[in-house]
Amino acid sequence: MEFLVASAIGLMTASGIYLVLRLRAFPVILGLSLLTYAVNVFLFISGRLTVDAPPILAHDTPGYTDPLPQALVLTAIVISFGMTAVAVMMALGAFLEAGNDRIEMTDAEDGK
């Protein structure tokens, strides 16, 4: 199971980084989303993997999984929505102002 999770994180990271390296805003945002998944899952697994032991206190359970990474990741998921939304809005704004959604500055725009 550990191997499956680790490889899934790796695949999401690789795909995310490849997309972030594209030249248009939309694929970069997709890439950021994939990286967000990868990072959140990575943070989550720092509590190690446990099955059938949610951190809900009860009398008849043998043990609980680590609650702390879950609390951290929960807010990270919500905050990453905010981040994605701001990125989307900026991409949209750039496209509507400039007429294209390229992310790299040309020399003319750079003032050279």
């Binding site: 499956l4 680790a6 980084i17 997709l30 905050i79 509507l96 959604d101 500055m105």
Partner: protein, 950 residues
């Protein structure tokens, strides 16, 4: 008065000028001066104790973990310097009142001056070297403001920049040196460091620490080769020059050398670096001073020369020489500040400071003449004035000093330095005041009012008094200060007559030769002007330009405007660092037991893996890529459920929904496809970088999961105390709203700001160039003829109360079961946004009387109020409380303040999410999206409209 208060008074006083300037310039000066006077009185109250040899202390813990404490102490050395800073500061405030023109912003001047004064007092009273460094940097910053006070003068701005660059760089070096010193001793308290001479001098780090600390001291005290900034700083108003550049700031370097003298001095390295630098500075600057025509430039180089003299004395490393250094610090402060202020008076009255345009002022300005003559004769070392006494003692020390086996070197060069000093002092008197009265002054000079000459006159009186009766005036002070510098008992005997000792003959020779030089000045000046000499400013500017060009070049290569380039560099950098850590870390495979892989998990993994790769493969078809990435998000949610994280699963799946809706809204206005732009080679490079990063991340994740915790986990504490301390059984929720409530509070604020930012961006877009584009918008894809289908409208409306109910339920149970404010907020947002999709944004908005901004605002306020409420119970911010109640016929239930906090979270999440989606929808309306007034396009109770009627 507490030492901390003495150090704080000037800073508090810095607030007064801004308040008082409207009451007039005199009131402003008096208010400012009263703060300084109060601090001076407080200091003098300690003087009897200090002169008895006691050390006054005040200690406050600031950051004890770092060794940074607000510890102050006052010994003889601190008393002398603090007395100089506050006493001369008071005179400068008086002088500046009459010096500054009506058009100069006086309030600003006094504020800067007081900031500087506070920083200086802080330096000399600090008992903690980290605290000292903070004050040290503050003097650099405040002197920058003071030198550049006349912002309209380019020389002022350039001089300020140069001073900041040189002293700031030295300050950075000194930070490193001080940290090394603290590292050797194991404490950052001066009173501890000063007792550790053997440990410090035996350490391998002694020499690096010495050089770094001296760099700080030399740059501040304008020692060769860093002396060049001081003459350029003379573009400052004269009160600043008199205060910073003669009496106080440039002496900070000397203070530091004197302070560190007990532990750093006495070695060969100290002697050769410090004494040699001082000697070179003294002779060279004295020579340059002779040929300067600007009064302030002459005084500036003379100051550099005298600072060199004092540095040299400290460098000798003997207790006697250190005592002479202390005595000369006092004498120099008196005569040089008087001379600077007089130079300002001459400039003020004659409208020039060029010596070649002056002369014959003796009868026109008799008072100024008297002051300057006394001070300049003291500077030349003419008996019986105070400058004579310390110069004589300096020459005496020089004769005892052997440099690299040469016994006469110091004696001869010191005499030459004294000779130049005599020559320029006489030139100051002779070429400015003596000679015939001229008729071509730029302005008819006469003595100024009492206010302007009172301060220099007071100092001139001191020059005479100390000169005539040195032991009565300063004998005790010099003894105590020299004792503090050397850390031992020193007996001081200051007298005018030592017998026919070599120093006497050296002194006579210096005066004689100096007079000859003065007489031959005209011819020497011609030679000087004809000879080539390095121009320090040009060299400095070339250096600065070179460094700026280098950094610009590096930046331009790395940051050429291509985002993907930074990202590749960053990724490769992280990979390299990881590789280094892995290859040097001694990797051992982890041995933790692995979980079994059931079939369903394998199926999920396959789906996730395929879809992750598919997003990259299909990304040119944007809509398709969005669908595929949605699958990835869903599998991640399912994975969270499987791995015992129900809260995460609920959050992930609801965030997934709003994110996809958001992206769909945006995609409506973006191109639907991505063109193929990068070359095959570039794509292969990107695949390689991405592949390497993915592989390393996977390896890191696996290595992490195969090991147990390296440190005892704090999670057990949370599990154990969640119910008893937080009153909830859902530990994740209790952590969010209770244990780590402060974090959550910060996070909802961030989320709220993100929502407001998006709203502001949309506002800007709807006003700027984008607006025109939106008004002319032609949809790329044909619109659906049935945008608000009957089935969806009905289903959405039926679902609304149910979904809201679910939201409330999830919220209420959150403390004990999976759920809580975050998830409930997202669910309610989804319920509302479903209405947007089903019935249209405008239709929904028209029926909704709440403002999303208010949701964010109330959310944050409720959360904050809950936190503040715990203050009423005298508990720390955000301490929660809970209790169990029973109202028949219901079962027992719990009420917790944490639920109130969670309500704040809930409202903020709804507000932020809805504000984001609403902002995007507003853009759609501007682009010509029609507003439907009826809920459905095809209202079954109405006759069907014509097709394509939108």
């Amino acid at each position: 008065m507490s030492l901390a208060l003495i150090a704080a008074l000037p800073f508090l006083g810095a607030l007064l000028p801004g308040l008082m300037i409207r009451a007039g310039r005199t009131a402003c000066a008096m208010a400012t001066g009263s703060a300084t006077a109060l601090a001076l009185i407080g200091l003098l109250l300690h003087a009897p104790a200090v002169l008895r040899g006691e050390v006054v202390q005040a200690r406050f813990d600031w950051m004890p973990g770092l060794g940074l404490n607000a510890n102050f102490f006052l010994d003889g050395l601190g008393l002398l310097f603090a007395g100089l800073i506050l006493g001369i500061g008071l005179l400068i405030i008086l002088y500046a009142r009459f010096y500054l023109a009506k058009t100069d912003p006086m309030g600003q001047f006094y504020t800067y001056l007081m900031l500087f004064q506070g920083a200086m007092v802080g330096i000399v009273l600090s008992d903690n070297i980290l605290l000292l460094l903070i004050f040290w940097e503050l003097t650099s910053l405040s002197s920058f403001l003071l030198i550049g006070y006349w912002k309209h003068l380019p020389e002022g701005r350039q001089g300020a920049r140069m001073a900041l660059a040189v002293t700031g760089t030295g300050g950075l070096a000194m930070i490193a040196g001080m940290l090394i010193l603290g590292g050797i001793v194991g404490s950052y308290d001066l009173s501890v460091i000063l007792t550790q001479k053997e440990a410090i001098q035996a350490s391998d780090w002694y020499l690096p620490a010495l050089i770094l600390i001296l760099l700080g001291a030399f740059t501040k005290s304008a020692q060769f080769p860093f002396h060049f900034w001081l003459p350029h700083a003379m573009a400052a108003p004269t009160p600043v020059s008199a205060y910073l550049h003669s009496a106080t700031m440039v002496k900070a370097g000397l203070f530091l050398m004197a302070r560190m003298w007990p532990v750093l001095a006495g070695t060969d390295a100290w002697f050769y670096i410090v004494a040699t630098t001082g000697l070179v500075t003294m002779v060279m600057a004295a020579k340059i001073a002779l040929f300067k025509d600007d009064l302030k430039a002459l005084l500036a180089f003379s100051t550099v020369s005298h600072l060199g003299l004092i540095t040299m004395l400290l460098g000798f490393g003997t207790a006697e020489a250190a005592a002479v250094a202390v005595f000369h610090i006092i004498n120099h402060a008196t005569f040089k500040a008087a001379l600077f202020m007089s130079a300002g008076i001459i400039d003020h009255e004659a409208h020039t400071r060029d010596i070649k345009r002056l002369g014959g002022l003796r009868t026109l300005m008799p008072i100024t003449f008297t002051i300057v003559t006394l001070a300049a004769l003291s500077m030349a070392g003419i008996p019986p004035l105070n400058g004579f006494l310390s110069k004589e003692m300096m020459l005496e020390e020089a004769t005892h000093t052997v440099w690299a086996g040469i016994p006469w070197l110091f004696a001869v060069l010191a005499t030459i330095g004294a000779m130049f000093s005599v020559a320029y002092s006489f030139r100051l008197i002779g070429h400015v005041f003596l000679g015939p009265v001229r008729d071509d002054y730029p302005h008819k000079p006469h003595d100024p009012g009492f206010g302007l000459w009172a301060a220099p006159a007071a100092l001139a009186v001191l020059v005479v008094l100390i000169g005539v009766a040195p032991m009565t005036m300063v004998g005790d002070l010099v003894t105590v200060v020299a004792g503090a510098v050397t850390g031992g008992d020193v007996t001081i005997k200051i007298s005018h007559w030592h017998g026919l000792v070599p120093a006497l003959w050296m002194s006579v020779a210096a005066v004689g030769a100096g007079l000859i030089l003065f007489g031959a000045h005209l011819r020497l000046d011609a030679l000087w002007l004809a000879a080539p000499r390095p121009e320090a400013k040009a060299i400095f500017d070339a250096l600065v330009d070179g460094i700026a060009a280098l950094s610009h070049g590096v930046t331009a290569r790395l940051h050429d405007g291509a985002l993907s380039r930074y990202f590749v560099i960053f990724t490769l950098g992280v990979l390299g660092a990881g590789w280094l850590a892995w290859s040097e870390g001694g990797h051992v495979p982890g041995l933790r037991n692995v979980l079994p892989i059931p079939g369903v998990a394998l199926a999920g993994w396959l789906l996730l893996a395929v879809c992750s790769v598919l997003v990259a493969v299909l990304h040119r078809e944007r809509l398709l890529a969005l669908v595929v990435i949605g699958v990835v998000g869903l599998i991640v949610s399912v994975g969270f459920i499987y791995l015992s994280a129900p809260d995460l699963a609920l959050t992930q799946i609801s965030v997934e929904v709003v994110t996809i809706v958001l992206m769909l809204l945006a995609l409506n206005f973006l191109p639907k496809t991505t063109p193929r732009e990068s070359s095959t080679a570039r794509r292969l490079r990107d695949i390689a970088v991405a592949g390497a990063a993915g592989l390393s991340t996977a390896a890191l994740a696996l290595a992490l999961m195969m090991r147990d915790f390296a440190f005892p986990t704090i999670s057990d504490y949370h599990l154990a105390n969640s119910y008893s301390g937080g009153g909830g059984t859902n530990v994740v929720n209790v952590i969010l709203v209770d244990f780590r409530g402060y974090d959550t509070f910060g996070e909802i604020i961030v989320l709220g700001i993100a929502g407001l930012l998006i709203f502001a961006l949309a506002e800007a877009l709807l006003r700027g160039a984008a607006n025109k584009r939106l008004l002319e918008w032609v949809p790329e894809l044909p619109k659906s003829g049935d945008r608000h289908p009957l089935m969806m409208v009905v289903a959405g409306r039926v679902a609304l109360p149910i979904t809201l109910m679910v939201g409330v339920y999830i919220f209420l149970r959150g403390h004990n079961e999976p759920g809580g404010g975050f998830i409930a907020g997202l669910i309610v947002a989804i319920a509302l946004v479903t209405q947007f999709m089903a019935s249209g944004f405008a239709w929904t908005q028209a029926r909704q009387r709440v403002d999303y901004h208010a949701f964010i605002g109330f959310g944050v306020v409720i959360a904050a109020a809950t936190g503040l409420g715990s203050w009423l119970a005298a508990r720390p911010f955000l301490t929660s409380n809970f209790g169990y109640f029973r109202i028949p016929p219901f079962d027992k239930f719990e009420l917790a303040t944490a639920a109130l906090f969670d309500l704040g979270v809930f409202l903020t999440v709804i507000g932020a999410v809805m504000l984001t989606l609403a902002s995007l929808s507003r853009i759609a309306i501007r682009a010509g999206e029609t507003v439907n007034t009826t809920a459905m396009d095809n209202d079954p109770s109405q006759p069907a409209p014509a097709k394509g009627g939108h």
